[in-house]
């Protein structure tokens, strides 16, 4: 009956949490409600984000450990992030890291994948693994009482993955199924081609495996690469939640202390540079399509770039936020696209700046010309004070709101680690955002958001796209290489 105890303990803490959270108004007797104010109250001034208290340690094998005690719900998130992701994949093994991450769930030297799932279920958790361009992560969120189980399971998965043959065959078969499904989505196809256009020979050109790389994956390859890449001196262990830092550090050392060091240094990072100059639009033919997906993209920056905050604001004004110019123009005014969007993602070796819109065939040219106009406008004129204020407020607010869960805090700390920053840097983006001026926005847009900085990929019916885009750009058809 050991499991009953945590339930009652948790119930007690839930009671205190809810008691705090329920406004006394709800519990009091009914009163005549106050009339609703005619105008909304003014927003309060932005306050700096107080960085969480992080207990940092380095184990004997080189593993960095950051523990954050966060009160709230009786849960804890354990995240292990190892530097080196798809950038380490061989050219003929594109997107291999994704399969490596997926395969980690399939068992260790001493436990099957099913046993791992059962063990974690008993701790209230589900194993999550994932590969990014610059790291591979293993994580689980469970009840705080079972921190030892969460830590030992994540350690086992990272240090002793087994990649059994039958499970690897299943992972491969399912990856092929998922690829086939994704390829029916024109936006997936557009962004995949766009990455190749933007990054050229840089490994950031790839974010998912190909049919060929899936078929070539073997248990031996997975084991060899896991042993080479998943090593403690490249890794950060995060423990975020209702924990006692000393106890958590002790449990972390017990679970991860015996993880053996690797023998290779991480290859140096290579900054992504814009691929060859070209004014042509690449069309991926999708015969009979009634819509075209327009995808513009260019090489962005890393979060350590001094222009990062200005680019974030510029991007929000241009197309990132729902109130942005791109959305107002294409969706609200013209009705060309239902959900056009723009992103400026940061990444250590150069992020991705992209604008994507799915539009009806007959407005493909008109929509492209509006997008090019909005890019030119943000790069050649200052935004209004109102736009600037709204965008800064939006970005600051989103950043604060995005750090409410243990897993989200762990995710942000992991990103700091990936970029060679420290936990104290967690509040820096907000600080920088408060200082962004209209001049900064225009300067950074001129550098990163102009039509000249973009490549264009269009997925759609070739004759229809040609007809529409011929007056604007020269067109080439993608040679299919699947």
């Amino acid at each position: 009956m050991k499991t009953r105890r945590p339930l009652f303990a948790s119930l007690a803490s839930l009671a205190s949490l809810t008691a705090l959270a329920v406004p006394s108004l709800l519990l009091a007797e009914k009163k005549e409600p106050a009339p609703f104010p005619k105008e909304l109250p003014k927003l309060a001034a932005e306050r700096p984000l107080s960085p969480p208290a992080v207990s940092a340690k380095t184990l004997g094998n080189g593993l960095t450990v950051w523990v954050v005690n966060r009160r709230g719900v009786p849960l804890v998130n354990v995240t292990l992030v190892v530097k080196g992701g798809r950038t380490l994949d061989e050219k003929d093994q594109a997107g291999f890291s994704n399969l490596l991450a997926e395969g980690l769930k399939e068992g260790t030297a001493t436990k099957t994948g099913a046993q791992i799932a059962d063990t974690l279920q008993g701790a209230g958790a589900e194993l999550s693994t994932g590969a990014g361009s610059d790291s591979i992560a293993v994580s689980a969120t469970g009840v705080a009482e079972k921190l030892d189980v969460l830590l030992s399971t994540v350690a086992d998965v990272a240090a002793h993955p087994a990649f059994p043959k039958s499970a690897v065959e299943r992972v491969k078969a399912n990856a092929l199924e998922e690829l086939a499904t994704s390829e029916t989505d024109p936006e997936f196809v557009a962004v995949r081609s766009l990455r190749r256009q933007v990054y050229g020979a840089h490994p950031y050109a790839v974010d998912s495996p190909t049919k060929q790389s899936i078929e070539r994956t073997t248990p031996e390859l997975l084991r060899r690469e896991a042993a080479r890449r998943l090593v403690p001196e490249r890794a950060l262990l995060l423990v975020v939640g209702e924990v006692e830092p000393e106890n958590a550090s002790r449990l972390a050392a017990a679970a991860f202390g015996s993880w053996a060091r690797g023998s290779e240094a991480l290859p140096p990072a290579r900054a992504a540079t814009p691929a060859r100059e070209s004014r042509e639009a690449l069309v991926v033919s999708r015969p009979g399509s009634v819509q075209s997906v327009l995808a513009f993209g260019g090489v962005g920056i890393s979060r350590t770039d001094p222009e990062a905050a200005a680019l974030e604001v510029a991007e929000a004004i241009y197309g990132g936020a729902f109130s942005s110019r791109l959305v107002s123009n294409l969706r609200e005014e013209k009705g060309y696209a239902y959900s056009p969007y723009a992103v400026a993602r940061s990444a250590p070796q150069g992020g991705l700046i992209a604008t994507v819109a799915a539009v009806r065939n007959e407005v493909t040219g008109a929509a492209a010309s509006e997008i090019l106009y909005e890019m030119s406008r943000i790069a050649t004129t200052d935004p209004s004070d109102e736009e600037l204020e709204r965008a800064r407020g939006h970005q600051i607010g989103s950043r604060v709101l995005s750090l409410q869960s243990n897993a989200a805090v762990a995710g942000e700390l992991a990103d700091l680690f990936r970029n060679g920053l420290s936990p104290a840097d967690i509040g820096k983006p907000i600080e920088a955002l408060t200082k962004v001026t209209a001049k900064d926005v225009r300067r950074v847009a001129k550098k990163h958001l102009t039509p000249y900085a973009m490549r264009l990929v269009v997925v759609g019916d070739l004759p229809a796209v040609k007809e529409e885009l011929a007056p604007i750009v020269p067109i080439v058809e993608e040679k299919v290489e699947r």
């Binding site: 499991t3 009953r4 945590p6 339930l7 948790s10 119930l11 839930l14 009671a15 949490l17 809810t18 959270a21 329920v22 709800l26 709230g72 719900v73 009786p74 849960l75 769930k105 994948g113 099913a114 799932a117 059962d118 974690l120 279920q121 008993g122 701790a123 209230g124 958790a125 589900e126 194993l127 969120t141 469970g142 009840v143 079972k146 299943r170 078969a173 399912n174 199924e177 998922e178 086939a180 499904t181 029916t184 024109p186 999708r286 015969p287 009979g288 399509s289 009634v290 819509q291 799915a358 709101l401 409410q404 869960s405 243990n406």
Partner: protein, 165 residues
């Protein structure tokens, strides 16, 4: 009982549908779903819904997928669930419940739904005790409620729709 049954059948890699369809029979690539996903699970008004989504492999007839789902459900209706598995499930459900309260917005929505459908925000407080009280027999009984007569099946095949979105 339906919340527990849903976790047992389709919550994650330890669930019966994942074990049975993705791992065992190798006919599906992913399984997900929930009890009353379009309302607030335990707090609702009117008719409830039990939703399951299966992505299955090309070339597998959908009848085979449905038959597999039925086998897993009837296995629970006949054999029930062990105390050990039930205990793990309860911890998992509780953790998910807490995770749904981590953000202010989500907590506010939970409190509002408990108030709207249960009359008071206290419903959120008593939910863990209601889950803790579920017995193996309750789960067994709940499984028998998922009858074929009360079911709607939607099969979506992207290939047959051609290229047109």
């Amino acid at each position: 009982p339906l919340l527990v049954l849903s976790a047992l059948l389709q919550d994650g890699r330890a669930s019966r549908f994942y074990r049975g369809l993705v791992e065992g029979r190798e006919i599906a690539t992913d399984v997900s779903g929930g009890f009353n996903p379009f309302q607030s699970a335990a707090f609702y008004e009117g008719t409830t819904m039990f939703l399951t989504k299966v992505s299955y492999r090309r070339g597998v007839p959908h009848e085979k997928v449905l038959a597999a789902l039925d086998e897993e459900i009837s296995s629970i209706a006949k054999k029930g669930v062990s105390e050990a598995e039930l205990s793990r499930l309860k911890t998992r459900i509780l953790a998910a419940l807490y995770a749904g309260m981590e953000s202010r917005m989500e907590l506010a929505v939970e409190l509002a739904e408990a108030t709207a459908f249960d009359g008071a925000p206290d419903g959120l407080l008593t939910l863990p005790a209601r889950i803790a009280a579920v017995t193996p027999n309750d789960v067994k009984r709940a499984a028998s409620w998922l009858s074929k007569e009360a079911r709607v099946v939607i099969v979506k095949k992207p290939g047959e729709e051609g290229q047109k979105p």
